[in-house]
């Protein structure tokens, strides 16, 4: 089994506060890996470290290493921009830009210097089809993305990430702001996307992790408590803390 990410002895501090403590784990390619745990356990922090979004926050200190396709992403000469084109991200709250649907999806490719209208049109259509949104918006690509419903906006954000043709998609609680029907649609979409992409998803919804993921990592207070196949974590966890958490005794 090939790995997308190899995380080794990762420590992360916000100022003096330790957020991640000696995390070591591999994230396999073309599978869905779920990160679960109570609020503040460091699961979102870990996710944001994978495409170095934590760079944007002041006072973050990181040691240990993360290898993406055998390369150390914290190395000085490492190209972060390139990393982020390969490792896309979908956020908790749908955050389309205040532009048209078309421009939202064409934004990433345009930033990479693609100007040909035909090529962009093709990318936009393909991304929307892959994000299962095309039929709903094909007649109003010129309209504002802000007028879509929450679930549609989130699928638009997924389409926007797909447009970059990444290898990995990071998802930070992508359904927590959505109603159950929109959530179901996104989950179907994630399962579909698994065929082409490596997906890492943070969720505080344990049923969701159980439904869609192949592997599950349970984090608590910045430590990786247990990491295994999802069915093992949910049926036969080795750690008592994991068992307590998934049976709802705390968190």
């Amino acid at each position: 089994m090939e790995n997308a990410f190899t995380i080794n002895q990762l420590n992360l501090k916000y100022g003096e506060k330790k957020a991640l403590d000696q995390i070591t784990m591999d994230i396999p390619k073309n599978q869905i890996t779920a990160l679960i745990g109570p609020s503040g356990c460091g699961k979102s922090t870990l996710l944001r470290t994978l495409n170095r979004m934590n760079d944007l926050i002041d006072n973050v200190r990181i040691d240990g290493d993360i290898r993406y396709e055998e390369q150390d992403i914290f190395a000085k000469e490492y190209d972060v921009i390139n990393l982020r084109t390969k490792v896309g991200m979908v956020f908790q709250k749908p955050n389309p830009f205040p532009m048209s649907i078309f421009d939202n999806i064409a934004y990433g490719p345009r930033c990479q210097g693609i100007k040909d209208r035909k090529v962009l049109q093709e990318i936009v259509e393909r991304s929307l089809i892959n994000a299962a949104l095309y039929d709903e918006v094909k007649d109003r690509l010129k309209e504002s993305a802000k007028e879509l419903s929450g679930g549609q906006q989130q699928r638009l954000c997924i389409a926007r990430a797909i447009a970059m043709e990444p290898d990995v998609i990071l998802m930070d609680e992508p359904t927590s702001a959505l109603d159950p029907i929109a959530t179901a649609k996104i989950e179907d979409l994630i399962l579909e996307l698994k065929k082409k992409y490596t997906i890492v998803i943070v969720t505080h919804n344990m049923q969701q992790a159980a439904r869609i993921s192949d592997n599950t990592a349970f984090l608590l207070m910045g430590e990786l408590i247990e990491y295994d196949k999802t069915d093992i974590i949910f049926s036969n966890p080795k750690e008592t803390k994991t068992e307590e958490y998934i049976t709802g005794r705390f968190g």
């Binding site: 979004m53 921009i81 956020f91 532009m99 048209s100 930033c111 990479q112």
Partner: protein
Amino acid sequence: MKSRKRFITDKIYQSLITLISLIGLVILIAVFVFVFNKGSSLLSWDLLTGDYYSTVYDGYYDSELTTNLFVAPDDLDSDTYFSTRWGIALKDDLDREGHDYILIVYVDTESPLANLPDKNNEGEMVYMASGQSLDKIIFSDNTIMLSSKGAEAAISQFESATGIKDIMFTTAGKGIRGSLITTMYLIILTLIVALPIGILTAIYLHEFAPKNNKLVNILRRMVEMLTGVPSIIFGLLGAAVFIPIVSTVTGTEGGNLISGSLTLAVIILPVIISSTEETLKTIPDEYRQASLALGATKSQTTFKVILKSSAPGILSAVLLSIGRIIGESAALIYAIGTSIKDEIIVTERSTSLAVHIWSVMSGETPNFELASAISIIILLVVFVMNLSVKMIVKKISY
């Protein structure tokens, strides 16, 4: 009982707030009514497009007057007098300064007066047209017509005359075209200078400068402080710094449009910086994160997403600045001077509408009516700018 008391106090507060806001509204409306009342009578297209300086024409007519009679146009007022032999209509009127004069209301295209040989330049012609004033005529029998006698007397003298030794008439003058154009120039030149600097400074302060940096915070405080500095101080700066610099570069002397624009640019720079930064603060961080996560660089994020989303806010800042530019007078008195001009050249003196009002009011006989008429035009310019910016904002915001 207690709830009844609370209900009454609430009602009292509500009525107090309504009453006080009404007072403010009434005052504002009263200002508008006053200005319109005073100035609307002088408002005309000629005021907008006319020269400020009037030109005196001097002509004569020594050929034989043809015998055909002219027909008065149908739309003449009852207080207008028409000469059937010369084909012109005259009327008594008050000029923009409040003095009596004879207004030329109509000149028939076939009238001998429509083109006369110039008395002062051999071979040249002078043209009489409606809107001019008739000052003095010496007829060929040496009778003299003076404007103080009035239009009716003038027409009766015309009817018996056969030739004219000397006729003097004057273009209207007191128009504000020059000052209007100067104001437009000032708006455009000032924004060209101030907008890029202001917007980029705000972007630097909010997007690129290190957060919680002492120096940056001091810079920000200073910018905020500058918004409150009286403009006359900037005017002194303009006179002391910009006028000499521009004079050296262009080889002209004294205040000019460029030094005025540079001074105004300094005045509105803090406004643009502060309001642009306020707008940038309202742009959700999610946009920045989404853009960066898509592999966009910092500058791509800033210009393609952040700046685009803040365009409506920046446009309001532009509107605020335009208001400031149109309304500025104190600083401009120093930075370009107060001389009213008809031909506008950017390297020379001229004056804006606001300073025009100032000079109209600061003469020996302050002219309230003309000042009010110019005020109405300023109000209209601001109103039109406001509307168009609102329309643009509606167009570009998603």
